[in-house]
Symmetry: C3
Subunit: 328 residues, 3 copies
């Protein structure tokens, strides 16, 4: 499995961390992780915010070490299943909170807690046949961002401001041209890692391609569908072209399209339905979180994926009732 | 079972849809569904809003078709168990959002999603011996109403406005006379279908009567108890006489009184306790939803019913410890 | 077990009630309950609010009677497992709502409901190996406090006022001297019973000591750790010295340190991690509840304890992998 590592424990550890980054998009592949990491590093460099890449790396390393220290199942650790939630926690804390010594303590602390919560989430969901997805990340990041409002040592400089829910404001909406459409599609993919960057999106697509062409197709298709749906429903243009309504649908499309069912037309139709509903839930949660002054993160993806996995539908074509009836 | 239909598939389909409407008040009876539908049509006509009745019918038809397309258990479909949540989703969307082409797409979309979520809810709750009640409706309607604030294409013209929770305002409270009391009782029943209409209430009571006299007794008793309780606690008079604090208690009374336990004095006392608590939870959720600018819908009914069903109490009189002790 | 009671049913009933009060801090000991009750009575007397002690006693008596009336398992009743949530509900309602005849009806009603909800919570959690902790109290108290905003008969005179979440305000923070530190530690313990009183804290510590020296050590250690953590992160000084960020961490420390795992260094480290995270979650929930104008109560304790119990880690030293390997 780790053929390129041989017996080097450092190399095996790096492999687990890279797979942890790849698992953010549900891939178990170190090369994918390396390309995803390249996307993070590039976008951090482009935004002149090196600390974002550093936070992601610090978090995944701490999380993998914690999982080893707590003697979790080694197959899980080596597949990166204890790294992806922490990676996202690190990225999120560094994105929304002001830099400083306390931030780094907070990132390390968050990574450790995330590993414990991920283990518990697995215990709850596995008997039900459900994947944990990014639920541990969402829970821990919400709590840690909310808490920053109560502590002078942590300043949420980039958090949204709170408000009660008000009637729809006539946003600045303009007809979405082909350029805006493409921008929305690419940034929907890069926003999975909280980045608004086209080159990062290309690196992420490359990373998906080396692991799974089907996942790549569903990711791009999900992004296209989400941009089209949000535009049709009349969402704010800046949110669409910034990819801020598309990252959850992208993840839903990958999850429903590739992880759980064998590809087919019925599978694609079911995944498309889930993806379109994720767009609605993303808009809903953005509204619901207005009074709390924190972002909804990927909660819409987690909720909709669970809702669509719970029916445990058999969508294989071969299960279609045969018209000849001689198999009954 | 479908004796009046014979082998007509159209008739069997209509039967399933009517039972779907009847299941809103937990009845499995097509005549009940027809009388409930008459109540909806009458109230829509009286309010000069035909689209409400149309939305309910469209939603239940789409939901039943979707359940068939997804090849769900045919006994469930024929009992209307895949129709009642969608009926309520359709009514709710058409009640709170402005009319238009997008609204009808939204109703169809909501009905399809509701069927999928209902199937998943059954999967989660059945092993625990809990009914789904209107939980899928509540979840989907909340999300779709919240999302309307983010889309220019959907305007929530009839949604409440958002605010932070403030101290109790001295409402216009007046002594509740016998007329106001009766009005509150009837409208508590009609508000189960989001209607404020006395004649609709009479049609709903008639529908209950043809299916289950016990359910009728508990529905009316629950409405009376809720109006008395809210008046005693000092709720706003307009809310009481409009039935807006009573529709969840009515459903709780039916559920606890007839569906789950055999009728007896202990059962009635337990149902009355649950009904009174539903009044408190309705008031609590109305407050909790203030910042989100959406209604709580029947969430209080679902929550309290689950809380009172979970103990799995044996309330049969025959289980009372015998004093002679010779059965031990 | 009830040696001091003999066959007196009144005495056995009092024993169950006292154990119910002791279970607030997870102890099954009537003397502990008596000392805890002394703390409640003293603090009520000191604050010139006798009704608080009366509400606690009324609630635990009503709850124990209700559990008997509903014929719940007698071992559970005699261990006080149906009293502690109601005790806290009674204390909370009397603390935040204005006195009056309706308040006492509300306390009795709340105690009855809490017993039913506690039974259901046990049913849900026991198969998963999780304790109910104070979850029933938190849920019922939230709902009943929220509902008070909708009823003229119940006035939440001591409830916080609602607001949207705003950026961190530069609080009046001063260097925490040794006196403030000690005050924070003691009041963190007394706030478990919603009291801000040093003598009550000493009585509570005495109550813990007669039952479990380990629990006492973890309670005091948890209080010290929470005051240190909140000070380090820059929380508002008044909140720290008033113990308002420390009561949940104290309960987490007792739960993780003594109830679930055998004491050891690894257990203490794990409990310390959970306690520190409870501080963060307390701050987060205080913020999240701002728009609702009610307190978060001990929800952070419940959430974090569950999150840390769910992984079912084996933290015994003896389970460490042996280096000799001859046991494999």
């Amino acid at each position: 499995m780790n053929g390129w590592c041989g017996s080097s424990s450092v190399c095996r550890f790096a492999d687990a961390c890279l797979r942890g980054i790849a698992q953010v998009m549900l891939q178990n592949n170190p090369l994918t992780g390396a390309l995803f990491l390249a996307a993070i590093v590039w976008a951090s460099f482009a935004a002149d915010a090196w600390r974002l890449a550093f936070a992601a790396i610090l978090a995944v390393v701490v999380a993998t070490l914690t999982a080893q220290w707590l003697r979790f199942d080694s197959t899980e650790i080596e597949s990166g299943l204890h790294g992806y939630n922490a990676t996202l926690v690190g990225l999120t804390l560094a994105t929304f909170l002001a830099p400083g010594a306390l931030l780094w303590c907070y990132v390390v602390f968050g990574a450790v807690i995330t590993v414990i919560v991920t283990r518990g989430t697995f215990n709850v969901l596995k008997p039900r046949g459900l994947p944990a997805l990014t639920a541990p990340f969402v829970l821990i990041a919400w709590l840690m961002l909310l808490a920053s409002y109560g502590f002078a040592g942590l300043s949420g400089t980039s958090l949204p401001s709170g408000a009660v829910v008000g009637a729809y404001q006539a946003y600045h909406t303009e007809p979405l041209d082909i350029l805006g459409f493409a921008q929305g599609v690419f940034k929907s993919i890069s926003q999975v890692f909280l980045k608004s960057d086209g080159i990062a999106a290309l690196l992420l697509i490359a990373g998906l391609l080396v692991s799974s062409p089907a996942a790549t197709a569903f990711a791009v298709g999900g992004a296209i569908l989400s941009v089209a749906t949000t535009h049709l429903l009349g969402a704010e243009s800046d949110l669409i072209t910034g990819g801020l309504l598309g990252f959850s649908p992208v993840l839903t499309a990958i999850t429903l399209g590739t992880v759980s069912y064998r590809p087919s037309f019925r599978v694609a139709a079911y995944a498309a339905l889930a993806t379109a509903f994720t767009v609605v839930v993303q808009a809903a949660m953005n509204v619901a979180f207005t009074p709390f002054a924190i972002p909804a993160l990927t909660a819409p993806f987690v909720l909709v994926s669970w809702l669509f996995l719970l029916p445990r539908l058999s969508l294989d074509e071969t299960n279609a009732p045969s018209t000849s009836g001689n198999e009954r």
